[in-house]
Amino acid sequence: MANLEVKIGALSLKNPVMTASGTFGYGLEFADFMPLDGIGGIIVKGTTLKPREGNDYPRMAETASGMLNCVGLQNKGVDYFCEHIYPQIKDIDTNMIVNVSGSSPEDYAACAAKIDALEKIPAIELNISCPNVKDGGMAFGVTCAGASSVVKAVRQAYHKALIVKLSPNVTDITEIARAVEAEGADSVSLINTLMGMAIDIEKRKKVLSIGTGGLSGPAVKPVALRMVYQVAKAVKIPVIGLGGISSAKDAIEFLMAGATAIEIGTANFLDPAISIKVRDGIDQWLDAHGYASIQEIIGVI
């Protein structure tokens, strides 16, 4: 039984496995399948200052080894979260982290400030990388200036661990990572989905309601791994790796590439207990290879 504990700034994770925003609901949806407190953290779905209905159906297209989605941040807003959801999840004994999105730096900051007041939420993940909303989202995440402006505003309003989720839809992701690090981010998580599209040839129409969507699943894993490797070399803050992770082997690849922790996303749809299996698989692998601590493999590549 190796020591699996990792730290993201001041945040302690009992193990490096978390679940990615938008793929694990509020955790409660998966309580029948696994002990929620068995993983290092749960990042709940994207939350905005005001409620959002999201995009029209269809929002999903299956692809080779993955899927496209254009959900568009459907959520009931931060006030609803604080009043109705938070009481249901606050006593889950793991890091319950809220993914925060917005359409202006002020929006992001106002939403983050409300979550700052919630005692049992130790961190937020700032979503400057959603490809499925017209206003904000990825618009901020694709330029250094945009990313900096949001992180700067939020950093003033939010005093706990601040993770910034980066978009892969950029020329050089390390530049964005360095920009948000300079504004005081405690960690970066990457990658959000890769923008893609699908066409129904019989209908001669785009499959998704807004035409494009974000690609996730095993199809994006090599791209994500490369970006995590590059960013881990470029910044001093801890990196959280995600993108197509579906097994302990995948997770260990990201850890070796320099990620301090990992998130599991789309794989939750195929096996709702996958995150606990990945945790166990990492543990067994470390034992089998004679490592006493997970720290011994982080960033060894």
């Binding site: 793929t23 779905k45 999201g54 929002r59 299956e62 080894s65 459907q74 939750n268 709702p272």
Partner: protein, 287 residues
């Protein structure tokens, strides 16, 4: 007893979901485009309600990434069998049709909400106990088309078991496309329409003379969307309670990904978690 009643649009908090490797008992090709797969387990199968569904994992199909949502066709408690009626429409479902008896099929179940008027544990509340104002039907009509007939078999069987004789109105293109008629006849009266008139009345289900002759107090329907909309229009015009079972494209099946949403009076709701059964008054259908 009323507390046990399952109400449409509500999720029973005590209903646990499972991931199970179920064993294939048989795969029966009942039509060129449909297979009936019967599954079992060494343990007693979990409680399942008519209208709920199963997310099955498709192994061995490189183009199939996500699980496939399949409605519960029938649960045989004596034999401990779960039946899935599957239309082979794509690579994933064609792969499922290749399963052999003895194979294992990984299933997440039971998912979603059932039809109103069916029940959780305990017996169905018979009309004489429930009275006419209870939540269930006295004179139910079950309307199905194509593979949409699948969940109506279990629904009708549960009704019959509890003293209510359902009427099934089943539509198909031709006589050869009618599915599992002998099974339906075990539990209630079966009326048929075919588009070419080769069996039953000619036309669509909503043209059947039955609808002019008899009065029902609740309609449950599943099938192609145009058919369900026509049924919903009839129900609205005649002021009959009506529930429809939707099959929007899904990913997770658990209400986590928000991909399968339907517009409702309460905003976008997940068909997988808040449905798949909806009362037509919840939906924003233009009918």
């Amino acid at each position: 007893m009323r507390n046990n009643l399952y109400l449409c649009g509500q999720i029973r908090k005590d209903m646990k979901k499972y991931v199970l490797d179920l064993r294939v008992v048989s795969v029966e090709q009942i039509h060129a485009r449909y297979v009936l797969i019967k599954l079992t387990d060494n343990q007693e199968l979990p409680e399942m309600l008519p209208g709920q569904f199963v997310e099955v994992r498709v192994d061995g199909s490189p183009t199939t990434f996500l699980r496939r949502p399949i409605s519960i066709n029938y649960v045989d408690r004596e034999k401990n069998e779960l039946w899935l009626l599957i239309a082979t429409v794509g690579d994933g479902t064609r792969q499922l049709a290749q399963l052999q008896s003895g194979d294992l099929l990984n299933c997440i179940l039971p998912l979603g909400n059932g039809f109103k008027g069916t029940l959780g544990p305990g017996p169905f509340v018979p009309p004489e106990v429930r009275g006419t104002k209870g939540p269930g039907p006295n004179v139910p009509l079950l309307i199905g088309g194509g593979v949409g007939v699948a969940p109506l078999l279990y629904l009708g069987a549960e009704m019959a078991k509890n003293g209510i004789k359902p009427t099934f109105l089943l539509g198909a293109r031709t006589k050869n496309d009618l599915l599992m008629l002998e099974e339906f006849k075990k539990y209630g009266r079966v009326l048929i329409t075919t588009e070419d008139g080769s069996e039953g009345e000619k036309g669509f289900v909503t043209n059947h003379s039955l609808l002019q002759q008899e009065r029902f107090d609740c309609i449950y329907t599943c099938g192609p969307t145009p058919m369900m909309k026509a049924v919903a229009r009839y129900a609205k015009q005649t002021n009959i309670d009506c529930e429809v079972s939707l099959e929007n494209l899904m990913a997770c099946g658990l209400g986590a990904c928000l991909c399968c949403v339907e517009k409702t009076v309460d905003g976008n709701l997940c068909v997988c978690k808040d449905g798949p059964v909806f009362n037509i008054n919840q939906l924003l259908w233009q009918i």
